[in-house]
């Protein structure tokens, strides 16, 4: 009998999979935007690894912001969690030692070859300087986002525009032509200060500055960043287009949501949005029977706003970080579920479950990533920059301040942040 029991035990040890004696239970915290993708991935991964039990809880962005840090410092909560990059979110987790560096997994799984520098930088954090974009890598993103232009093919045809513009000058000429034909060139709303003005400013700056400039202004690693001639040029161009009436009437009194709906209702020829809006825009335009297309704004340097998606991190409390990393690798590389839910993966892969619009989006994304054309979000630069840029751009586009005054507002913000950093 004893021998029989020993044989059974030996068999059990032999069939125990790779992750052996370490825990095979993982808890994931995830935000609602891409929860469907995670749900499908967890189900498949658990089926493929019968001894592994990954469970997840959906947490809103605000929930994560308010509860994650405390939970992890108490050694509770998730083993894997999404976190917003930046000093106020992921930075605090790094400072507390609540999450582990993932550099070795980047090499093991080849993520360092999968992602360009532009997509890895935001996931780095330096605990000593409390600066993002330097130091070890603490997270990996399985999705990314970038800015593009959606256009109404029927309105383009009505104005006699046969193909999408290939240069910045052609784009400007098309807007002037649409305006002359009585068609609102661009849907835009900025009453809710959600950062749509910041996105426009960045996408226009892509005509005047290369990607490094965007990285310098966003991360300000040397505490010396300031706006100069190129930012002045972009601000002047933004103000000029507003004055010429290229954006819809009363845009400062229209919310970004309403502007999107108005575009989908055929009230403007184009709409600038991040790739995250693709699903809703296509859904709304199907309801109104609008024929949609998309293109990247053709600028000299081709930079567009965008970033890797929320960082996925592994908690220090995780008893099996190798298993966690393996699951992350699965998430990063499996594009099937992203395609199914119209979410934009970073990796290239199986898009067979995607609709044609999504495939087109992925092609645009791939070209953006390949050219390292991601320009991040300028409001990351200082804790007050989001408010400074929103307010400043509202005043600039409302013709209340000059481009020079706008640049001064931003530089005052930088100066305050630099002074504080020296204290």
């Amino acid at each position: 009998m004893k021998r029989f029991l020993w044989i059974i035990l030996a068999c059990l040890v032999l069939v125990t999979p790779t992750f052996g004696a370490a825990s095979t239970k993982l808890l994931v915290w995830w935000m609602p935007d891409t929860a469907e993708t995670l749900k499908a991935a967890v189900k498949t991964y658990n089926e493929q690894h019968p001894n592994v039990n990954i469970t997840y809880e959906v947490k809103t962005f605000d929930d994560l912001k308010t509860t994650l840090r405390l939970t992890l410092t108490n050694n509770e909560g998730p083993d894997i969690t999404q976190s917003n990059q930046g000093a106020q979110d992921m930075g605090l987790l790094v400072k507390d030692g609540s999450i582990i560096p993932l550099d070795k997994y980047y090499h093991k799984y080849g993520w360092n070859k999968l992602f360009g520098d532009a997509l890895i930088m935001p996931n780095r954090f330096n605990k000593d300087t409390m600066k993002q974009a330097s130091g070890p890598i603490f997270g990996v993103s399985e999705s990314a986002e970038f800015g593009l232009i959606f256009y109404n093919k029927d309105l383009f045809a009505k104005a006699g525009i046969k193909e999408t513009p290939k240069t910045f000058e052609e784009f400007e000429a098309d807007m002037a032509l649409l305006k002359s034909k009585g068609i609102t060139p661009m849907a835009y709303g900025d009453s809710d200060q959600c950062g749509r003005g910041i996105h426009w400013f960045e996408i226009l700056l892509g005509n005047y500055a290369p990607q490094k400039r965007f990285a310098d202004l966003t991360f300000d690693l040397n505490n010396k960043a300031s706006y100069g001639k190129v930012e002045l040029a972009a601000a002047a161009k933004f103000q000029e287009w507003c004055k010429k009436g290229y954006f819809m009437d009363g845009f400062l009194g229209i919310s970004s949501n309403d502007a999107q709906k108005m575009f989908c209702a055929g009230q403007a020829a184009m709409y600038k949005e991040g790739s995250w809006g693709t699903t809703d825009i296509f859904k709304d335009s199907k309801a109104t029977k609008i024929s949609l297309g998309m293109f990247l704004l053709p600028t000299k340097y081709g930079i567009t706003f965008g970033a890797p998606g929320p960082s996925i991190t592994i908690a220090r409390k995780c008893k099996n970080p190798d298993l966690a990393a393996d699951f992350l690798n699965y998430l990063v590389n499996d594009t099937k579920y992203h395609a199914q839910n119209n979410e934009l993966p970073i990796a290239k892969g199986d898009l067979s479950m995607a609709d044609p619009a999504y495939k087109e989006l992925c092609q645009l994304a791939a070209s953006t990533y390949a050219k390292n054309s991601i320009g991040y979000y300028f409001d990351w630069a200082t804790p007050t920059m989001f408010n400074t840029l929103n307010a400043g751009l509202q005043r600039l586009t409302g013709q209340k301040i000059t481009p020079e005054e706008f640049v001064k507002m931003v530089n005052d913000d930088f100066a305050k942040a630099h002074a504080k950093a020296k204290q």
Binding site: A87, Q88, Q193, D249, L252, G253, I254, Q267, A391
Partner: protein, 293 residues
Amino acid sequence: MNQERNWRNLWGNSLYLLPGLMLYLLFFLIPAFQNMIFSFYRMDSLTKGVFVGLQNYQSMISDQLFQSALFHALYFMVLYATIPVLLGLIVAIILARARLKGTTLLRCVFFLPYIVTAVAIGITFQWVYSPNNGLLDTVLKFIGLGFLRKVWYGDEATAIHAVGAIGVWMTFGYMMLIFLAGLQRTDESLYEAAKVDGANVWHQFINITIPSLKNDITIAIIFNIINGLRVFGLVMATTRGGPGNSTLVMDQYAIQTAFSQGDLGYGASLTVVITLITLIVSLLVMWIRREES
């Protein structure tokens, strides 16, 4: 013996107050005191707090955003202390004395905006003020006043007044209720006697109604000044402090500073200032009222 019984009663009665007092202590007094302590520190969510004395308060002097927010707070305080109070008084007098049909229904209709959340009202008024065929612009065009149409939320000259108008509409119903209660206490025979003496409606209003409602007016003004300092929900649901910070208010600035920008010390000092303003204004109104009586 009586004294002993009084002490025993006092202790017994105090026990009933204890739960409420504990909640008040735990969720208001202690956090408020702690907040005041934080205001003397340079404190963010990344590093340990450093005692800086009055530096946060000194920073306010040169902080343009604080000055804007304070000015807007004063605007809302003055607006809320006058127009809704006056409107509520007039409507209360009409409802109490004019003997209209459907008075009860009218009271409910006028009071309803006060109990609906500011967020719901703010979202509704986005449609009213929309530059894209919003209700207000449509009505103005219909009655031949199309030239008055504006981008109400998007123009720095009109945004704060547009939000203020919503606040007036939201609060005048509550003022009306305060005055209706006061009017019910007013002796009807005073009005009859005044009529006999030849007093017209205006004389009755000045010599009977206003004096009998003096306490209610004081209460209404104080309540609405406090409401005027708590427009955060309405502003966030409408203009979010824009365009260009032209509707930024104190409590919004405090929350933004403390939680979005991570400057907890400065945010705490802003909330202390809001509390002080509320206290000073309330005491001032009560002192003026006491001087008059």
